[in-house]
Symmetry: C2
Subunit: 358 residues, 2 copies
């Protein structure tokens, strides 16, 4: 009667011990597959545990083994933008799939700023809420890295690698990917190529920009980079500005899905035909790139696999088995309808060309 009126009674190892006529310790050994009990007793205990529907009380286990059996992910981007970045949901899906098999939980927190993010790490560490965290959107001289190292909270950086890195990273060659994209549009005859980048402070943005500038220089192209904050508004604004220039680019490479789709919308609204007047390349190819018209040529990557790799690596780091970096499969360009050959003539382009038709 001490139990609440409704609800199943939660069964503990003491219940199992009583039922099996052994001690708590024996039950613990049996359930954890450790030596110390006979095969007979073990099977009997396992049978009773199954019958009673026992699950280990995570709090109790956490208290004695100092393990939360949970990993954390903090995202410091505006909610509205996050919702539109299919990247994170797919990434989370990958992380989940690897975690749920070991019944480790994923705890997620959205914050406004990097300072808040650090505060969450402090709290999670102090509360023993998580055994480790994945860190996204790395910056140069990132204060989060210092804090995580100071705390001693296991962490894996998603995206990198960083010079003099104090934390292990899961990374892929961002520069090589952008080079592939530029070569592709260059091969289509485009010479004025713009890149609408993400947040300048992010390491992966810098790496992409570096790759972009070096390959455009190498190919003797007119390469231009503008940074955004990943928001749709900033993407729209930058695209509008680019296309309003006296000599607009004939190809634009965007740093995300949302930016690319936004850019496509702005171009169409301004009367540019895609890909006839302007070619568009997206990044982190998701369904959204494929369902718009025309479907976007995009840099495709198996983000789910990326999430799996990242979390597996974090689990290794938590176990103390490695502190190395891991390189993952890099993205590849998937050509679709939003890219086409550059106009060979130097004739009118953009809204004027369309006005000429209608």
């Amino acid at each position: 009667m001490a139990q609440p009126a409704r609800g199943a009674r939660r069964v503990t190892i003491s219940d199992i011990a009583a039922r099996a006529g052994v001690s708590k310790g024996a039950v613990s050994y049996a359930l954890n597959g450790r030596p110390g009990v006979s095969d007979n007793t073990r099977e009997r205990i396992l049978a009773i545990a199954g019958e009673l529907g026992w699950y280990p009380n995570r709090a109790a286990r956490a208290l004695s083994v100092e393990r939360a059996d949970a990993c954390g992910l903090v995202l410091a981007r505006p909610a509205k933008t996050l919702a539109l970045e299919p990247f994170f949901m797919e990434f989370i899906a990958g992380v989940e799939s690897a975690l749920s098999a070991r019944s480790i939980a994923l705890t997620i927190q959205l914050v406004e700023s990097i300072e808040d993010e650090i505060e969450v790490y402090r709290r999670w560490f102090g509360e023993r809420r998580v055994d480790g965290v994945l860190v996204a959107d790395l910056r140069e001289h990132d204060p989060r890295v210092d804090e995580l190292v100071r705390l001693g909270l296991p962490a894996v950086i998603v995206g990198g690698p960083v010079k003099n890195h104090a934390l292990p990273a899961v990374w892929h060659d961002e520069a090589a990917v952008v080079v592939e994209a530029v070569r592709y549009v260059a091969a289509l005859g485009h010479t004025r190529i713009a890149r609408v980048a993400g947040v300048a402070e992010f390491v992966h943005t810098a790496q992409r920009t570096e790759g972009f500038l070096s390959v455009t220089r190498e190919l003797g192209l007119d390469g231009d980079v503008t940074e955004t904050d990943y928001s749709a508004e900033s993407g729209a604004r930058v695209t509008r500005k680019l296309l309003s220039a006296p000599e607009p680019p004939s190809a634009i490479i965007y740093d995300s899905d949302l930016l690319a789709v936004t850019g496509l919308g702005v171009a169409q609204q301004m009367g540019f035909a895609v890909p006839d007047d302007i070619s568009i390349v997206g990044w982190d190819d998701s369904l959204i790139s494929q369902v718009v018209h025309p479907p976007l040529t995009a840099i495709t990557r198996d983000i789910v696999a990326y999430g799996i790799t990242a979390i597996r690596h974090l689990l290794e780091v938590i176990e103390g088995r490695t502190i190395a970096d891991v390189e993952t499969q890099r993205g590849e360009l998937t050509p679709r309808g939003s890219t086409g050959p550059a106009r060979t003539t130097n004739g009118p382009r953009g809204p004027r060309s369309r006005a000429a038709i209608t």
Copy 2:
């Protein structure tokens, strides 16, 4: 030396007690703002706690008060689709914002099926991982409800209400919203209106369909409903079929953002001008509806607020303070560029009309 070489030493209430020269009990009272200590002592203890950077060990607290200080959300939709439904990320953002203020964690799990979802509830309950859960995508005779009631795990249904509901729900009038949308396109002169719905088994789908059919009947319109699984492919397939009919609808109302954007892409690809040949209405208006061209007329709702309401209600239910349903603000139609007047003539429409122009 018992501590790991790197990493901060985690401080416990015993440390604070020793420093303050009082017992653990006194520290506990002081830190929890409960009577039992003088104001002087309380302040001294709080000062020491702040100085040492103390955070409560969640496992220890959970063990004694039987509170996990965590809520759960299980999503049983394919990851690829989920990633594209801005709804969930926005919803989660809302949930988070309400939780983080009380430093309650949100644990998320993606599963494949409703059976897996039930298994997760069993495990979470047995492990005392969560204090309660939010249940989305309710079905008629939903087995999850029975199981949650059986377990006695506090839960709030997101979407509803249900007849004979055994669990409290947070809901809004889905039927009224679809009626508003139909009246709007009807006022524009459309008489053949299709609805591309979500999963038929979901209660909110049924409610919308009911509202749709009743209002089209009332207005004497030709109303057609086709169900999908929310996937882009199914949305594309249905749209293609609708628009290939001898007498295609002149307006389509979609049940989600992704479906609507996909439908827009298919229509454009088939040569239908939007909104001249076909009007399109989306649902759960997110940025993605706004950045495509033309921007979508859509049913707008403050999803972040919806998440906040849902989780606040769950916390009330966990506290045992209420088991009532809560009605939330319903969606409203936001007209944009994807809807326009129906052609008054019975002349050719669709691809032919466009062919006639070019």
